[in-house]
Amino acid sequence: MTPVVRMSGVTHSFGALAALESVDFEVATGSVYALVGENGAGKTTLMRVLYGALRPDAGTIEVEGVERKWRSSADAIAHGIGMVSQHYSIIPELTCLQNLVLGAEGSFVIHGDAFRERATRLGSKMGFAFDWDAEASTLSPAGAQKLEIVKLLWRESKIMVLDEPTAMLSPADSDALYASLKQLASEGATVIVVTHRIPEVMQHCGRVTVLRGGVKVADRAVAETSAHELAELIVGHSVSRSPQGAADPGEPMLEVSGLVVKGERKDDALKGASFVVRSGEVVGLAGVDGNGQRELFHALVGTLPAAGGTVLLGGSDVTRVRSRDRFVRGVRLIPEDRHEEGVVEDWSLVDNAALGLQHVPPLINGVWADLARRQALALRVADRFKTKHQGLHRSMRSLSGGNQQRFVAARALELDPRVILAFQPTRGLDIDGTAQVYASLREAARGGAGVLVVSFDLDELLENCDRTIVIHAGRVHEPTPGQGHDRQAIGRLMVGAS
């Protein structure tokens, strides 16, 4: 059978950096196809070449046996190729229907009823139901992902590329998504999923291609490989898991009791959360996105006020203490959104090293900032996870996303942390980077800190944390004793079933 997509000898460079070197990639229809690899392995670059967003330096693209040279993405779209990027392109202020047809209206006049009818038909074919006239801001991450898929159908895409589609989804939503993708594939569509989650590949995909350092290293039927082999192929050497169950937990470092926090819509986003993180332990906070994780974090950092309850830091009440003084007392943060909250991209690495630590001695001396110590700090931060950079005085922008995340994670381990709050600390990191970050969080815990990790990836938490607690609908639940590592039991708590 001829493959639907055949890319041969694709080479692409960004300046001096070769992102892809003579990669061959073939996809047939019928099953969900996985493309895996570390950050910077070239997965997204390869898909952007296929989608016409990048022009390759060399190599050819054949679609259904015909060689194509895309002039632009519009060209690729017109030939049935669709892509959902990692960051959804949903505009929250528009309605779901407006988002659906945006850029593909097909006429100068909006035919509301006809559009709605076709939209509903496409949605119900996949088993999705939308309130088409509701604002897209009301969609859950899973809903937004579904809308993106219907967008591809609207554009009559036959070849669909999804970049990390489950990054924001709960396990149940991920399973549902793959069920839809398998349905599409069985109906003749070609589905390519870019992912770094090996369990998903093993469970749902038919074939898998592994990229490493811009080169294709393997191409296997999933049935003929194993999770272990894939992990080795991706990293290029065997992966060691971070050691678990460190020393016995000590004194409580972070005690939260009855914490109430108002959300954006003035409702209680956090409805009396209580839990303890002790010195020496790494605690995972599992939960589906949007259950109060964000508000909890802001309240712990001090950027959102507590409407009720208390937060104790090393035994002393900090509920009314302002944010900067919490940093001075040892709170460290790996924020959720690196671009928006974690770094100043225009600044040098040196100046970014002090961000959040600017009032922490010895970086401050009276009113003066100690620039020599800031420089030394930046050097340590960059070295800890081997952040790849071209000089500490170059801007943060010159770093890749994964390297920025390494820098931000390393910064949170500096200057004697007592409580480390990590929100999706491995977002955008590859297997090695993830292992490094958790190893360091554990090291900090061994040094006496208490660590709280929020992630939407339950497997990551179960694998790396001493224990996992669950947040659902603004309340924190502890799994019953003995079920602390029971995936099913925790999964039930995450959706509010017991």
């Binding site: 302002r322 940093f327 909250e341 770094v343 991209e345 959040g356 009032h359 009113v367 620039l371």
Partner: protein, 333 residues
């Protein structure tokens, strides 16, 4: 920053071409006009005297706008703050003589300018009202207010729209005289102010937090910076410096306050700050350029070039510069 590409060169050539065509359109040879412009602004002792007299308020007000810009705020209100500061400084100087009067008048300029900018800062921080709109409105109020006061209660006998002249003992003195050239202490003070602002931004934690607020307010807030307070403070300090520029202009050069005493220093200060780029030191050449151009274009009027040309020239410079800058900003993606 990347080296000049051909696009930048083309842009610069196009800009100069535009100015040259404008000159030819009014019947003047561009080369001749350029010569006269340089001679008129820097060719003689008198020319230098006048250029520096214009440079001083441009430098101080330019720094004021620079600080606001550093915090992510467009202080379009420098002109109004300068007028209010100038008038309040004059009133104090008319009532207290000597060095004490000079110091108090400068303080009055600082306080008045700061208070005039404060509402814009508060509205921005706590009501999310855009500072460009509020400062423009405050400019209009300031202009009408000082005009009313100068034409009314503060009017000098026999004059229509100016105050009494400040006693000579209260003037800011010249440090060096070679008549007609005078180097006033005000310019030296302004240069020291540049140094102070540069040190403050680079070496203090408050300066660090100000820059963080301007560069990425969300990241700043996440890092424990009290963004609302920083916003109010930056706007107030910016207004205070603009007010100081007005007071200093009276004490050093004008010696009384009258309607039209500012030739739009506060507006040109926006250009000075934009052209200064990322460092307060950049405000020095930029203020000097603006001062020289305003003086120079006055002197090429003898060639039949209308005075409005300085506006065109400055406009072209700012647009070219903004095009460079915003190209860089856009290349983020």
């Amino acid at each position: 920053m990347k080296a000049f590409g051909w696009k930048q060169v083309a842009l610069t050539v196009a800009a100069f071409g535009f100015v040259a065509l404008t000159l030819i359109a009014v019947g003047v040879m561009p080369g001749e006009a350029a010569m006269e412009l340089v001679r008129g602004s820097m060719g003689t002792k008198n020319a230098w005297n006048e250029t520096l007299k214009l440079t001083t308020p441009l430098l101080i007000a330019g720094l004021a706008v620079f600080i606001a810009l550093r915090a992510g705020l467009f202080n379009i209100g420098a002109e109004g703050q300068l007028l209010v500061g100038g008038l309040c400084g004059t009133v104090v100087a008319l009532n207290v003589e000597g060095v004490l009067g000079t110091v108090l008048a400068c303080l009055a300029g600082l306080v008045a300018g700061g208070l005039w900018a404060l509402p814009a800062g508060l509205i921005k921080a706590y009501r999310n009202g855009h500072e460009v709109i509020t400062t423009i409105m405050l400019n209009n109020i300031a202009a009408a207010l000082v005009a009313g006061l100068v034409a009314g209660p503060l009017r000098q006998e026999g004059m229509s729209t100016s105050t009494e002249v400040v006693a000579e003992s209260t003037w800011l003195p010249s440090l060096y005289e070679n008549v007609p050239f005078r180097l006033n202490i005000a310019l030296v003070g302004a240069l020291l102010l540049v140094w102070g602002v540069a040190v403050w931004i680079k070496r203090t934690v408050a300066g660090y937090e100000l820059s963080a607020t301007g560069a990425n307010p969300k990241a700043a807030a996440t890092a424990g910076v009290e963004v609302k307070r920083v916003t109010v403070r930056a706007m107030t300090v910016s207004g205070a410096l603009s007010g100081l520029a007005g007071a200093v202009q009276v004490l050093a050069y004008e010696h009384n306050f009258y309607v039209g005493f500012s030739s739009g220093f506060g507006f040109d200060a926006l250009g000075v700050a934009l052209l200064a780029g990322g460092s307060p030191w950049g405000a020095i050449p930029s203020a000097l350029l603006f001062g020289a151009l305003s003086k120079g274009t006055t002197s090429i009027q003898v060639l039949g070039v209308p005075k409005g040309l300085s506006g065109i020239l400055l406009g072209v410079i700012i647009i070219v510069f903004a095009a460079y800058r915003y190209r860089r900003v856009k290349s983020h993606d």
